[in-house]
């Protein structure tokens, strides 16, 4: 059994490499993805091995990157686009929302748009403005797009390959602060679970904590701390934000009766709002307390010296856990 200890950055890099080896139609495109290997080195070494025709350094124009990727997909390629930072996706927003998301629908299924748009997202890296945002709800709100978020190195390796092999456009969110943070054991011979499935990453009985991307780690830490106080938290890594995989969530909520949702994005009209609504619709009689949300405040992302005030952390998750238990 071939196993190795890898970071998220390495897992994504290995997954991209594997996808390119498996399918000559897979192309990687973005700013600085070639010689530099991307500003986070996710595409490190790919241009050297697959050439400039398949690992394409693009001009600095995000709409141009996504728009030309649409054209390449129409020609039969499977472009994997890197948006350098979350806050730079907006110039491409029109192409993503009006074209990428709608071409299959517009053509009544005659056209496919097998494109992956990778976006390093979230904060906590001490960056300047526009480098720490969490725009996932804007894409999850757009019919025609699928939206997933990986949270750990092993998922990074598998999910990127599954997203590339998928025939619908996928917004692929990568928690950038996790890129080089933790290592995990990867077994390349394992069979991954399907892409659009949530996963219970820690079982518990008192409160269900829903998280994805960077907050999965926060939630797991919170569960560890809560266990010390005799509170049993169940943590679900949602993994897929559109479509949502609610079955494991409903199953969990019917047992615990209490839910805390946590994400780095603003609370107002964020993923937590949708999750809360669906849980209320389906688990109303099981709920012992209102669904609580722990996310960023409804302000623009602040200067990095106070970003830890802004981002949900272990203590704020635990505070919400206490509030739901006291309800």
């Amino acid at each position: 059994m071939a196993t190795s200890k890898i970071t998220l950055a390495k897992g994504l890099n290995m997954g991209l490499r594997k996808a390119m080896e498996n399918d000559p139609k897979v192309l990687v495109m973005g700013e600085d993805v070639g010689k530099l290997g991307g500003v986070f080195r996710i595409t490190d070494g790919l241009q050297k091995d697959f050439g400039e025709d398949r690992v394409i350094d693009s001009p600095l124009a995000e709409s141009g990157i996504v728009g030309t990727a649409v054209g390449m997909a129409l020609r039969g390629y499977r472009p994997v686009v890197e948006i350098q930072f979350d806050g730079f996706v907006y110039p491409a927003y029109d192409q993503i929302v009006c074209q990428v998301a709608k071409l299959t629908f517009r053509s009544q299924g005659k056209l496919k748009m097998p494109m992956v748009i990778r976006i390093p997202f979230g904060g906590g890296i001490g960056a300047v403005e526009h480098h720490s945002e969490s725009p996932e709800a804007q894409f999850a709100h757009t019919p025609g797009l699928k939206v997933v978020a990986c949270s750990n190195p092993v998922d990074g390796y598998w999910m990127i390959q599954q997203a590339i092999a998928h025939d619908d456009p996928v917004i692929f969110l990568e928690p950038k602060r996790q890129y080089h943070a933790d290592k995990a054991e990867l077994d390349e011979s394992a069979t991954p679970e399907p892409l659009f499935q949530s996963r219970v990453v820690r079982t518990g009985t008192d409160v269900t904590v829903l998280a994805y991307g960077p907050t999965v780690k926060t939630a797991l830490k919170a569960a560890e701390a809560a266990a010390g106080e005799g509170k049993s938290l169940e943590v679900i890594d949602l993994r897929t934000l559109s479509p949502l995989d609610m079955a494991p969530v409903f199953e969990s909520v019917r047992r615990t009766g209490r839910v805390v949702v946590t994400h780095e994005a603003h609370v107002n009209l964020g993923m937590g709002a949708e999750l809360s609504a669906r849980i209320t619709e389906q688990c109303f009689y099981s709920l012992e307390a209102p669904v609580l949300r722990v996310g960023a405040f409804d302000t623009p992302y602040p200067a990095s010296r106070i970003e830890e005030e802004y981002l949900p952390d272990l203590d704020r998750v635990l505070d919400a856990v206490d509030r739901t238990l006291e309800f």
Binding site: L27, D53, R54, I56, S58, P59, A61, S63, G64, V66, G67, T68, A69, V70, G71, M72, A73, L74, R75, G76, Y77, P91, D94, Q95, C98, Q99, L103, T104, F105, R106, S107, Q108, G109, K110, L111, K112, P143, G144, K146, D167, D168, F196, P243, L244
Partner: protein, 389 residues
């Protein structure tokens, strides 16, 4: 002493005083009066083994039938059969010249006004009506005729064309010398779109990668109510050089010149020499769409002046004066147009409304469990009214 702020070129001196007549750079091979004229760089070549008069009669037929499509669709809108129609009156030569210059393997990325190009590609004009009637959003299969779906967001398709051309490069379908393999891509857009970021980005990408794409801009002088002067201080074709590829201004009401110039630009792309910008200088004789009222913003004198440059009339004059088409020919085109009119009128009314539950089809390549649930819920809701009156 303060420095004078008077610097930079005099735009009028550099680019000429007026764009009204297309200026000295206008490439023309057939005058509005129907006279053939020469040009140092471009000539009309009907193609190997082709009879020149027959090809020109074919252009006449294409333009006359395209105008009929436009007239019929406008009438259908007035009768309430279409919600809206984007008229092309006056732009027939630009579209037929460009459309007939294509080879089968080339790919077209149209706006929503490319009815003449669609005609050249063999798309049934009836299928163009669905979008404007509201029964679909473009029902033809782009793969059948290498003609993309109409794109409504202004200029967005210029990037798709450029990316498609980058795919062509990666397929090795450029510069091989094989006329059936080498492929060009054409992006259609208008003068208004030239202000869009996407169009400008597509120029940058196409130049950077030397992509086999032709940017075909129909400058019809109007972006709804805004005149060309609101989009540009210089002739549009001059912009291309700033992006690093040639730009040409052709008389877009001259089908022979438009054909010759587009054919050359497409061949240049297929040969691997990169993008070309073609500005087809024309005029939107009709309204922007059937919802528009041009009398609010332009003078009827302008329209009357452009009527003298009508793209179809000049070919008719040329064919008649030179004895290249007889009355029977014109009568047969007229009869064909009448048949086409019947096809469109009857076909349009027979286009079926989509079924309510079809809303859920094709959002994705396979329906998601979420959407399935919504669809089933709505189906049950609809079923609950059955039998109730």
């Amino acid at each position: 002493m303060s420095q004078s702020a008077d610097f930079g070129p005099d735009l009028v001196e550099v680019f000429g005083p007026s764009q009204q007549d297309g200026g000295p750079e206008l490439i023309q091979l057939l005058t509005p009066e129907g006279e053939r004229v020469g040009h140092p760089d471009f000539s009309f070549d009907p193609g190997e083994g082709q009879d020149e008069a027959e090809v020109i009669r074919g252009f006449y037929r294409d333009m006359a039938l395209t105008r009929r499509i436009d007239t019929e669709a406008t009438a259908l809108q007035r009768h309430g059969e279409l919600g809206i129609w984007a008229q092309l009156l006056g732009q027939e030569a630009a579209q037929i010249g460009a459309g007939r210059a294509l080879r089968p393997q080339d790919f077209v990325f149209p706006t929503y006004r490319e009815h003449g190009v669609a005609w050249c590609r063999g798309v049934d004009p009836l299928s163009l009506l669905g979008l404007f009637r509201g029964v679909d959003q473009g029902s033809w299969n782009p793969a059948d005729n290498n003609f993309g779906l109409y794109t409504i967001v202004i200029g967005a398709q210029a990037l798709h064309a450029t990316g498609y051309a980058m795919g062509v490069q990666r397929d090795g379908a450029v510069g091989t010398g094989d006329p059936d393999r080498d492929t060009a891509v054409i992006a259609h857009f208008g003068d208004g779109a030239s202000s869009q970021g996407d169009v400008n980005e597509s120029f940058i990408f196409a130049a950077s990668y030397n992509a086999p794409v032709v940017f075909f801009c129909q400058n019809n002088q109007w972006a709804i109510s805004e005149p060309i002067e609101r989009q540009t201080r210089i002739p549009l074709y001059q912009r291309a050089l700033g992006f690093g590829f040639p730009g040409l201004r052709v008389d877009g009401n001259d089908v022979l010149a438009t054909y010759a110039v587009t054919k050359a630009a497409l061949q240049r792309a297929r040969d691997g020499q990169g993008p070309t910008f073609v500005e087809a200088y024309t005029y939107r004789m009709g309204a922007h769409t059937t919802t528009d009222d041009p009398t609010r913003y332009r003078l009827s004198d302008d329209v009357e002046n452009w009527k003298l440059k009508d793209p179809i009339a000049r070919v008719e004059v040329y064919l008649k004066r030179n004895g290249l088409a007889d009355d029977d020919f014109f009568a047969s085109v007229q009869a064909e147009a009448d048949d086409l009119g019947v096809h469109l009128r009857e076909g349009c009314k027979a286009l079926p409304d989509p079924k309510p539950l079809s809303i859920f089809d094709h959002v994705f390549t396979e329906i998601t469990p979420e959407l399935e649930e919504q669809r089933d819920g709505y189906a049950a809701y609809l079923a609950s009214f059955e039998g109730a009156h």
